[in-house]
Structures are given as structure tokens and as C-alpha cells.
């Protein structure tokens, strides 16, 4: 379980996050949603420690990450897997080396075991026979899959995804969403997904946190989001004609 408490963050005097609280349980897909520029990525980067909050703390299963010493932080980071918006594959390494990288850096597994683990993870995300391809030779959807494989290869306890389906066609987007959810359930991972895609919300929103201009305005599940009574959230959901039509149909 990840708890965030009273997170505040400003850049050059401009406050981006205001007193954000939240709890994210394992074995469910936790979503952070909101419009562009409201601070979702900043929040996610603060949770994984790429950005230091001005105030507040992030707690991973009772361990205070924000106030922790370097050793504790490194220890927690080694349990984190992250899928970046563009995949962030290392472009000088091929697919296999990319997925193997966390094992090379963080474990002392023997080589053949590493290879088995890498192939297992690649298979798990539906990729076969691409081990030797370079990142520049594979499609955007495949990059995301490789990114997911790399994020889970070290048996991560926490999985973070920043807009996992941006730039993908709707069908591939849903496949990726489902993949993230399946992996979360299967390995009981604490997963946090940042998205502004209503499709993802309806498909995989087990627990949803709505952020508006740096504030946490609503929390709930996909079952009650359509009936939420927060104006900003309604504006966000029904910006889309399709959603409006769905709502009118009941």
C-alpha cells in the first residue's frame, strides 16, 4: 500500500500541487485522472521520488520514502517499476538488454536465469522473437509492452504508469490497459496509472483520484464516477460527446 500525505509542490513560486492525500492499495488499478497541465505527472514523479515535495510524505508499506535515508530510498526504488509516457527504452540497447537491465543492475542472478526471466516477462506482455530488435525498430505499442516488461522484470511491488496508452490506437490502448490490470491482479502489485483517457477510466478504474489544478477533488471507483456530483469532474468526463450520449442513454 502506498500512502501520500499532504503533498505540496511549487515551481518558481507557482504552486502546482495543493495538499494532496491518497491511499493506493495493492492488487487494484489505482488511477490518477485529470486534464492536461493539472499536475498529474508532477504528482506521479513526486511519488517515485524524481521530484522532491516541498511538504508532505510518501509512504510505501509503512516506510517513509520522502524522509528516508539514501539506503532506504534505494531499497524502495529497487521495488519500483515504472512505465514512462514514451517508453523511455534505452536506445543504445536492444529489447532483451533493456528488459534485462534492472536485473543486471539490481540482482545477482546467474546469466541463464536472467535470460529465462526476461523471456518470461516478454512473453507475459505478448512479445516474442523481438529480443534482438532495437527500440527504433519497433512500434509505439511494442515499446510500451517492452516498457511494462522492464518494469515488472525485477518482481516489482509497485508499478507506475504515466499515460500508458497515449499515442496508441483505441484497440491497442485497451490491450495495454488490460495488460496492466491483469499483471496487477496476478502479482498483487500496487499500481498507479496516470491518464486522461475516459476509456481507461471505464475499463480499469478500480480506484480513481481526480486531480484538478493541483487539488484532489474526488475519489471513487469507475462505478460511481458517472454519477459524481463535482462540477469540475463532470466537465472533464462529459467533454466527450460519446460519454454524454452514454449518460443520456442511462
Amino acid at each position: 500500500m502506498i500512502e501520500i500525505k499532504n503533498i505540496n509542490k511549487s515551481f518558481d513560486g507557482k504552486q502546482v500541487l495543493f495538499n494532496i492525500d491518497g491511499n493506493f492499495k495493492p492488487g487494484q488499478t489505482n488511477l490518477i485522472i485529470g486534464a492536461s497541465g493539472t499536475g498529474k505527472s508532477v504528482l506521479l514523479k513526486t511519488i517515485v521520488g524524481l521530484i522532491e515535495p516541498d511538504e508532505g510524505s510518501v509512504i510505501f508499506d509503512g516506510r517513509n520514502f520522502t524522509q528516508g535515508d539514501r539506503q532506504l530510498r534505494t531499497e524502495i526504488r529497487q521495488e519500483i517499476g515504472m512505465l514512462f509516457q514514451g517508453g523511455a527504452l534505452f536506445d543504445s540497447k536492444n529489447v532483451e538488454e533493456n528488459v534485462r537491465f534492472p536485473l543486471d543492475m539490481l540482482s545477482n542472478m546467474p546469466e541463464d536465469e536472467k535470460l529465462d526471466r526476461v523471456n518470461f516477462c516478454l512473453q507475459r506482455v505478448g512479445l516474442e522473437n523481438v529480443n534482438l530488435k532495437m527500440p527504433s525498430e519497433i512500434s509505439g505499442g511494442m515499446k510500451k509492452r517492452v516498457g511494462i516488461a522492464r518494469a515488472i522484470v525485477n518482481n516489482s511491488k509497485y508499478l507506475f504508469c504515466d499515460e500508458p496508452n497515449s499515442g496508441l490506437d483505441p484497440q491497442t490502448a485497451i490491450l495495454i490497459d488490460h495488460l496492466i490490470r491483469e499483471i496487477t491482479y496476478e502479482y498483487n502489485i500496487t499500481t498507479i496509472v496516470v491518464t486522461h483517457d475516459m476509456n481507461s477510466v471505464i475499463e480499469i478504474g478500480d480506484h480513481i483520484l481526480f486531480v484538478f489544478k493541483g487539488q484532489n477533488l474526488w475519489e471513487g471507483t469507475k462505478n460511481d464516477i458517472l454519477d459524481a456530483d463535482v462540477k469540475e469532474l463532470k466537465d472533464f468526463i462529459y467533454a466527450n460527446r460519446l460519454m454524454l450520449a452514454l449518460k443520456e442513454k442511462g
Binding site: L50, E75, Q78, M105
Partner: protein, 242 residues
């Protein structure tokens, strides 16, 4: 001024929380090939021509019959060892390797590859930059040595082919009054320049913000700042060491 302070903080960052030595050895090897071996071609061309031009220009400017022709060899030798081999090659090195390093790190930064390393608990600065600096410090003095030999050879070829100096005179010229310390000085310069180019370029690349445009700017700035630093250091070393 602020960025100079940030630069020194960056250098310190390279040494905290490093990875295992084994990891670095492999990386240093890879980088040495990328940085050193891939620069050989340009260094060869430039140094041969510079030696040739120096020989011919010197001959052209020697109008007094009182000065012996062997002096052409001596001048080519001294110019080469003291300035041309370490300094001019460093400018070329900055243009090739510096822009390459800044471009690579800048791209890794804006495509979040640096963040990916950090999230895994890897000290990205140290992991990415230290091998480049060490590889530069290892390979650049070799390049300077190569440049020195080739430049003197270039002077020999150009001088004898055009007939401004006989082979015997040239050889005599490059052997007379040889000061061994000049070699030491050239190698000290080489190490300092290699460190400056690789660390300044890494610094520029590592802190790139924005997109492809900014990566281009980081590359250019890396080359410019490296060149300024090289010339400044050249001046300071000349003051300190002579």
C-alpha cells in the same frame, strides 16, 4: 556564474552512490571505443595537414640566409608538441566528441531515459557520465600522441616533397635541442583537456530541458564552452608549467 557552481555540484554527484566497479569497467571499455577509436580518422587527417602546413609556412617565412633549413624541423616539432597536438586536437575533439556526448545525454534526458535510471535506484549521473570522462582521459592522450607523430611526419612529407628542406636536415632539426619536459607537458594538457571536454559536454547534455530543439542547443553550447575552457586552461597551464 550560477552554472559554474552547478557544474561543480554535478562533478561531486558523479562520485556519490556509485555502482560496482565491475559495471564501470565494461562501460569504460565501450565508451573508449566510441570516443577514442571513432576519433582516430579525423585526428589523423587534421594532424598530418597541420604538420604539413606548419612546415611549408615556416619555410616560406624563412627569408634570411643566415638561418639554417633544419630549423623547419625544429619548429614543426616544438609547435606540434607544445600546442598543435594537444590543443588543436582538443578543439577537434570538442567538436566531435563533445557534441556527441551532449547530444546523447540530452536525448536520454528528454526521452525520460535518465528518469528511468533514477527510478531504478541507479545514480544516473555517475552511471552515464563517469565512464565517458574516464574513457576520454584514457584515450585522448593516445590521440594526442598519435597526432604528434603524424604532424611531424606530415611536416617531413610536405617539406621534402616540395623541396624546402632535405630529409637529412629535417631529421637533424627534429632531434636537436630536444626538451623532454615538453612531452610531459603535452600529456598533462591532454589529460586536462579531455577532462574538460567530457565533463562540460556531459554537464550540458545531462541538464537539458525541453525537446529536440534544446538538445541541439545543448550540443552547440557544449562545443562552445569546451573550446573556451580549453583555451583558458591552455593559457593557465602555460603560466603554471613553464
Amino acid at each position: 556564474m550560477r552554472s559554474i557552481g552547478k557544474y561543480f555540484m554535478f562533478l561531486r554527484l558523479l562520485f556519490v552512490n556509485r555502482e560496482s566497479i565491475r559495471t564501470y569497467i565494461r562501460l569504460i571499455f565501450d565508451e573508449s571505443i566510441k570516443i577514442g577509436v571513432n576519433s582516430v580518422f579525423i585526428v589523423v587527417i587534421i594532424s598530418v595537414f597541420i604538420g604539413a602546413v606548419t612546415a611549408i609556412q615556416t619555410a616560406y617565412n624563412l627569408v634570411s640566409p643566415l638561418i639554417k633549413e633544419y630549423i623547419i624541423g625544429t619548429i614543426v616539432r616544438d609547435m606540434t608538441i607544445i600546442e598543435l597536438a594537444p590543443t588543436i586536437t582538443a578543439i577537434v575533439f570538442a567538436g566531435k566528441v563533445g557534441s556527441n556526448i551532449a547530444g546523447e545525454l540530452g536525448t536520454m534526458r528528454i526521452t525520460e531515459q535518465v528518469d528511468a535510471l533514477e527510478v531504478m535506484g541507479v545514480n544516473s549521473a555517475s552511471y552515464l557520465v563517469l565512464p565517458k570522462i574516464i574513457a576520454s582521459i584514457i584515450t585522448y592522450p593516445m590521440l594526442v600522441t598519435l597526432a604528434g607523430f603524424l604532424s611531424i611526419w606530415g611536416g617531413y612529407v610536405a617539406g621534402t616533397l616540395t623541396g624546402v628542406v632535405t630529409p637529412e636536415d629535417y631529421i637533424y632539426g627534429i632531434r636537436i635541442d630536444f626538451i623532454e619536459f615538453n612531452i610531459v607537458m603535452a600529456l598533462i594538457k591532454a589529460v586536462v583537456f579531455a577532462f574538460l571536454v567530457s565533463s562540460i559536454s556531459s554537464f550540458q547534455g545531462y541538464y537539458t530541458r525541453g525537446g529536440a530543439l534544446e538538445v541541439g542547443i545543448a550540443s552547440t553550447t557544449a562545443v562552445t564552452n569546451s573550446c573556451i575552457a580549453i583555451l583558458l586552461a591552455d593559457y593557465l597551464l602555460a603560466q603554471l608549467l613553464v
